[in-house]
Assembly symmetry: C2
Homo-oligomer: 385 residues x 2
């Protein structure tokens, strides 16, 4: 879980980027509300489609705005100085729409900002909510004359790239749960099993390790000579001897997620498939050694693609990796025309793959934290650790 100290640091870092004339901020993207105070609706609740807002004042105060059932659906502890919670459902009277309950919370929070100028997150607030503060708020600004106007969301997405200690701890928790699913997949993998059966075994093992229900998503698909590339949630296909099962999946805990991959042989696989797996593993290991602050993401892609080509398995037909955190993918993006460079605090995937007609598909993937002097692998390597 995010910590109070981490949330405070992030709020302080945010304020350092905000022009002095702005006295308050209103944030609505669920990822950003969480990033700044820890509040996030549990997606496994009846409030999953709702939103809460976070009002931040330059004096450091922060206030959560929500309806009473949204508050009850918090997925973890959160850290605010005050709350404005409006009754949406009382078990006594008919309900209004939950949007109305949220706009009511904004109206009640007016004393917090009245008479001063603020900034809203135009990507995170609905038009109905934004209209409640329109006369006192702007929604874009230029940090200086040379830059294009930016939104509050732009600033937050930029800040999110460098992960804090509490974020990395939470990511590691996701990765431990994800690794438990990978271990279980190795135990059960066999001809005759359905793709959905694999999903159910992996999902169960991941949640047992996490100690709580959570969202598990990704690629749970078999590949084979006639279908070398397949992705997405499981189908009703049943595994056959010689298939290659690409298990590329994420466990989300409190908004953060793991994303690493193993390719599992179903029974005995061809020597061509084994060579393919070997080439991907070697490419992964070699490319990982180049992870460091300042590395150009397009060069990392080029390295991975060239190594696969040298092994007769390339070029790489998709990204070599991407940033990971509250979104997936998120910057930096490791692709052929990327403008991104790695920075300290980035959490990224590396995921070389090859998909050959007549053989099948293989992909392997790990997750890394970029550190001052290189990188730290955050997940155990599936099937090895």
């Amino acid at each position: 879980m995010l910590t109070e100290q981490g949330c405070r640091q992030r709020r302080s870092r945010l304020w350092s980027q905000i022009p002095e004339e702005l006295e308050w901020l209103l944030v609505g993207d669920p990822r950003h509300v969480q990033y700044l105070c820890g509040f996030r609706i549990n997606p496994l609740s009846f409030s999953a489609d709702q939103r809460a807002l976070l009002l931040l004042k330059r004096d450091g105060k922060c206030v959560l705005l929500a309806d009473n059932f949204t508050k009850r659906s918090a997925g973890a502890a959160y850290f605010v100085d005050d709350e404005v919670i409006t009754p949406w459902y009382t078990h006594r009277r008919s309900v209004v729409s939950r949007h109305e309950a949220l706009t009511q919370a904004i109206a009640e929070a007016r004393p917090y900002w009245s008479g001063s100028t603020g900034l809203i997150e135009p990507e995170g607030l609905t038009e109905m909510c934004a209209a409640m503060v329109a006369e006192d708020a702007a929604w874009q600004f230029a940090a200086d004359e040379e830059e294009t106007p930016r939104t509050l969301g732009d600033v937050l997405r930029e800040l999110r790239r460098s992960k804090d200690g509490d974020e990395v701890e939470l990511l590691k928790r996701c990765m431990r749960a994800c690794a438990a699913g990978h271990r279980r997949a190795i135990e059960v993998m066999a001809p005759g099993l359905g793709e959905l059966d694999v999903y159910l075994e992996v999902q169960r093992a991941a949640q047992q390790e996490a100690g709580e229900p959570c969202v598990v998503y990704g690629d749970f698909r078999a590949t084979h000579a006639a279908l070398p590339k397949a992705g997405g949630l499981p189908t009703d296909y049943r595994l056959r001897e010689g298939d290659l099962f690409i298990l590329d999946y994420s466990v989300i805990l409190h908004g953060y997620r793991s994303d690493f991959t193993n390719t599992l042989p179903v029974g005995m696989v061809s020597s061509a498939a084994s060579e393919q797996l070997q080439a991907c593993r070697e490419t992964l290991t070699a490319t990982a050694k180049l992870l460091r602050p300042g590395a150009a993401c397009r060069e990392l892609w080029q390295t991975a693609s060239s190594l696969l080509e040298q092994a007769g398995m390339g070029p790489l037909v998709h990204h070599a990796g991407h940033g990971l955190g509250l979104e997936h993918p998120e910057p930096p993006i490791l692709v052929s025309e990327s403008a991104d460079e790695l920075r300290v605090g980035d959490v990224v995937t590396l995921e070389p793959g090859c998909y050959r007609e007549g053989v099948g598909g293989v992909r392997v993937e790990n997750n890394y934290l970029i550190t001052a002097d290189g990188s730290e692998q955050l997940n155990e390597t599936p099937g090895v650790g």
Copy 2:
């Protein structure tokens, strides 16, 4: 899944409520986009936090606006006449924010409405999206002089109360999956089991029956003499002989959900607990006989509460039930001061419960479709059917 015919009927019904001077509508609440065209992002995907928009024209045409990965994350088939899909992620270049990709889709869709006046859903569109159409659009209207201004969202929520045939079929699929989970809980319930173990067994059985991964949420909690009322996702508590396990949960398939309840004895329970269960079951059966169009929801609550009181178990300390569909709870609400009346097409729960210090908690619940001459129970009764 929703059908093309059902989506067309709903769009046609929507247009019949829209003033003539409005030529187009822009919808953004994910529930409403789905209701009108079937498109919904799978919550078990990396696009879960994103949105797509639906542009509707008075001539019947409808257009989906989304980024390319949101389109790929559709949870089921959908039915539109055209699409404006903007590249957010290409596996070649760095990414912009997905909000920017969506506003780009709105800009590209301008020829569809340019020069005519439309209406946006202010609860469903972000300020950034709404700004793209602001010069051509209104966001509230009064249907006639006596009514208060309404939004497009208000109209859609009102339409959603009466479920169509395809919606009822989808709800029944949710209920079959939910029933499979209930059956599994009966099989495994025993002292020593953890609440999380029960969740994992139920979740697995529900998904196996559904044939696909899906969201399972609700109350998975043991009650006992010292804790007669408990709700929410499972904790690390281990069941003890004599506990009463309240299994009150939902399975979501393509946005729609079941919501029914059984209370399971853990080993041998006290005679006081058995009487409590009997009183709840009799209250449920008797109240269900009163379900019909025109029934006042406050009277249904009063009946359930009085029956519990007559059995020495009342009054009822929460709702007697609520509407169910793309939200939970949604109107009508069966509470003591409800202004709602049942209508044909409502899908509602009935859920009498009682929670006694020194004994424990019991609740039972079924789901019903309100029909012209009464009601149809949509779920099998847990443990009996």
